[in-house]
Structures are given as C-alpha cells and as structure tokens.
Subunit: 225 residues, 2 copies
DNA sequence: CGGGCTATTGATTCCAGTCAATACTCGTGG
DNA sequence: CCACGAGTATTGACTGGAATCAATAGCCCG
C-alpha cells in the first residue's frame, strides 16, 4: 500500500475488502477521508504532488489491483476509452468530495449520520450484499472522523435512530428499517418528545432561510481555443 | 458559463476576474464550493455525470478561456504533456478538496477564517498582486457558505482578528498585518482577556489528543496489471 | 432621498464537544 | 477456565462555541 509522503507511482483499485484513507495533520491527528471498497480507486492524490498526500489502511483482508501510473499512461496512448475512464473516475471523486464539503458545511450531526448509513447501504447493494443488514467495518471513532463528529455523537445518534425505529443497532451490526426517513431526515424531534420504540416517521423540520440564486453581476469575456 | 444540470461539454479556465462555484441543495440553499481566479480550472465535475453538478457565477468582470472537452481529448492524442497536465490539475483539485474536508471537519471558526485569508493572500501574490492589502470580491455570506459558517460568525471573527492586530478590516478591504500568526492560529484567547489593539501574537492553544496512526489489521493481496 | 443589500454588534439559545463512568468484546496468559 | 487488560461502545452531566434572533448602521445606485 502506501504512506503519506511516499513517492507516487501507482494507483490502486479495490478488488475486495475494505479500507480507509486518512490524512495526518500537523499534530498527528488523523482525519478519515474515505472508505474505499470494491471497485473504488485510490492514490489519485499523488499525481499532482508526486507524493501521496494521504495514506490507506486496510480495515479487513483486502485484495488490491495495482496500477502503475506510467504503465497506465502508456496504455492510454493506444486505448482511448481507458483514458476517458480515468477522467471519469477522477471527476466522480471530485463530485463525491464536493458532496462531502457540502455535507460538512451545512448538515446537522443527525443528517450526516443518516446520509452515511444511506450511502453505505447503497454501496453494499451495488456490491451484491444486503442493503438492509450489514456490518460496519469501521469504529465509531473512524465514522466520527469521516463525518466531522466525535465518536460519542455518532454513538448517540445511532442510538437515537434506533429508539426512533429508523434502524436497529447492535455494536457493528446495522439493520436499516426506514430508508426513506434516513434519506430525507434533517433533524429529529427533541428527545423530550420521543417515546421508546416510537414507529412514526421522522418529520421534516424544514430548515430553510432559502436564498435565491444570486445573479451574475459581472460582464463576461470568453474565448475558445 | 454554465448552470447546474446543463449538459457538459466544455471546461473553463479563468484568464482574469473572479468567480464563485456553487452547489444548490434540494431546498434551494446555495453552498459555495470554490472561488476560481486567474489560472484556475472549473467545470471538471461535469465529466463524470455528463452534466454539470455545480454552477459558476461571476463576482467581477471575467475573461474566460473555453476548452471544449472533445477538442481537448483530441489534442491530448498528439500532445502527451497536455494529457498529463490535465491529470495533474484534476489531482490538485482533489487535494484541495481534501484540505477543505479536513478543515471543515476539524477546525474552529477562527482557524477557518485565518486559513481563508492566508490562502487568499497567497493566491493574490501568485497573481502578482499585493499579498498584504487586497479587496474581497465576495460577501460575508459567501465566505461563510464556503467555510461552513454563518455570515455573523465571519464578521465577528474578522473583527476579532482586527482587535488583535492580525489584520485590518474595512468592509471589503483587508490588510494582512501578521501572516505568521494567521498561519499557525488554532484559537484566540477568550474575549474577556483581550485588550483593544493588543499587538502580541496569538499563542498556540495546542489542541492535541493525538492518536498514533492505526496499524493495518488486515492481510493484503495485491496483483499488478 | 429612500430602499435594498451588506456589515457589525449584542443577546440568547442550543447542538455537539468534553469529561467521566460503566459496560461489552475479544484475545492472551496464568 | 477465568481473570485481566486493551480497545470499543454506550450513556450521563456539563460546557462552550457557533447559530439564531434582532437591532442598527454603512454603502450603493436609481
């Protein structure tokens, strides 16, 4: 695999298993950036700086496909579709990270955990596993780091979802009970208003303060190449 | 330019001027993703989904270079360095967004605003403008959206930096007085301990709870292509 | 001048972080 | 086998930082 700062030369594709990629800040704290699993690509961040800026750690037995970057470039010379696939994958990563930024910037703890569960559920479904019942491969601490929350908040939120009938939780084992509510959740009713094992759906709290899209206020000069 | 959902066909390079790129969520709230300026590329998010997932808005008069994606791909066939440059730029964007994620996930409001100012200062320097005195092209609201803060918090933080002698603020005009402190700042002393126009540097609050890097706990199977 | 957008500042609320105690899981060795 | 300890998870009490609500002022442009 690779560690931070190591010279970049190869990309990685997950054939099977689960990993995390992490960034280590100037104080040694680690921040989880992604949880690659089957079909996911990582190591791309090394292309620009010639060194990996993040580090991958296996969370289970893993089977990886190594993709030496130079060799890949050569293949791209003769197989245009490969090249386009790479652009596409990198673009997808970019969009995914945009989603992360938008989530971290705007959503409550509950909404983040809900999204995380939905996303996991969908990814497991894509891989042919059950989307309704699965085991987390990562700790609460790692989930928290990924979502910009503390492990206690993650734990509490999962417990609240459980109380609320949206999921079942037993340690690492998660059962999805009400995917729709998880999908659309913004905020849970206050705990004072919760009844044990309540089965009614989470209502929208409809945050709002909506702003119309700002119009252009600058002129535009364009030139094609 | 382009709007969200519009079919993707061209990339954009900023020749001069300032823009913002925004994501619009399901309630119409806009989230600022970046502030492209001279030399920056945007529109890349469209490659994967064939549609732009974000939207660019000019914050001043702008001069853009259009780069039709198909034409670019053709040029790449004959000019290998172009192709590599594109990988590099996309990789750079990926690293930048990783930095955003890590910032939003871990840093205080003060640290975010400080980083934002340092980054602006460096980018202005790169463009040949003054790194010590410049005008913001965006509102407090847009800065807040970009940093995952409210406009009030941005305003208060700038005022605090001013009181503290780190910067001068007059509406959109920012003067950088103590770049080093901005660079290394984690947390300001409590306001009760502040004196007007204090000139002493912000000290490190040294957050810590450092975690060692977790070791692999999975076996690894690798295969080269 | 007046109206709309932008910015500053104050008062208050509340969500998530921190600190802390306890329990569950699992592997290791007496 | 059970005890022990380390890592992980749950839950409670409390705190604090940023959001929210609100009032005022500055700026720009018709």
């Amino acid at each position: 695999m690779h560690t931070i700062g190591q010279p970049f030369d190869t990309l990685f594709i997950v054939h099977s298993g689960f990993l995390k990629t992490v960034l280590i800040d100037e104080f040694g704290n680690e921040q989880v950036l992604s949880f690659p699993m089957k079909g996911d690509l990582f190591g791309v961040d090394g292309i620009h700086t010639k060194r990996y800026s993040s580090e991958a750690v296996a969370l289970s037995n893993c089977d990886l496909i190594l993709l030496p970057f130079k060799k890949f470039i050569q293949l791209g010379r003769t197989h245009a579709e490969l090249e386009h696939a790479m652009y596409s994958v990198m673009s997808r990563e970019l969009v995914r990270e945009q989603g992360m930024v938008s989530m971290l910037g705007a959503l409550s703890a509950e909404a983040r955990v809900a999204r995380f569960l939905v996303s996991l559920s969908e990814r497991f479904a894509d891989m042919g596993y059950s989307s309704k019942l699965f085991n987390l491969r990562m700790t609460r601490h790692e989930i928290g780091s990924y979502l910009g929350l503390t492990l206690e908040t993650v734990s509490r939120t999962l417990s609240a979802f459980n109380e609320f009938g949206l999921i079942t939780v037993d340690q690492r084992s998660i059962g999805i009970k009400d995917l729709d509510s998880l999908r659309t959740l913004r905020r849970l009713p206050p705990s004072s208003a919760r009844s044990k094992q309540a089965s009614k759906k989470a209502r929208e709290a409809a945050a709002l303060s909506r702003n119309g899209v700002t119009d252009n206020d600058g002129d535009l000069q364009v030139a094609a190449v």
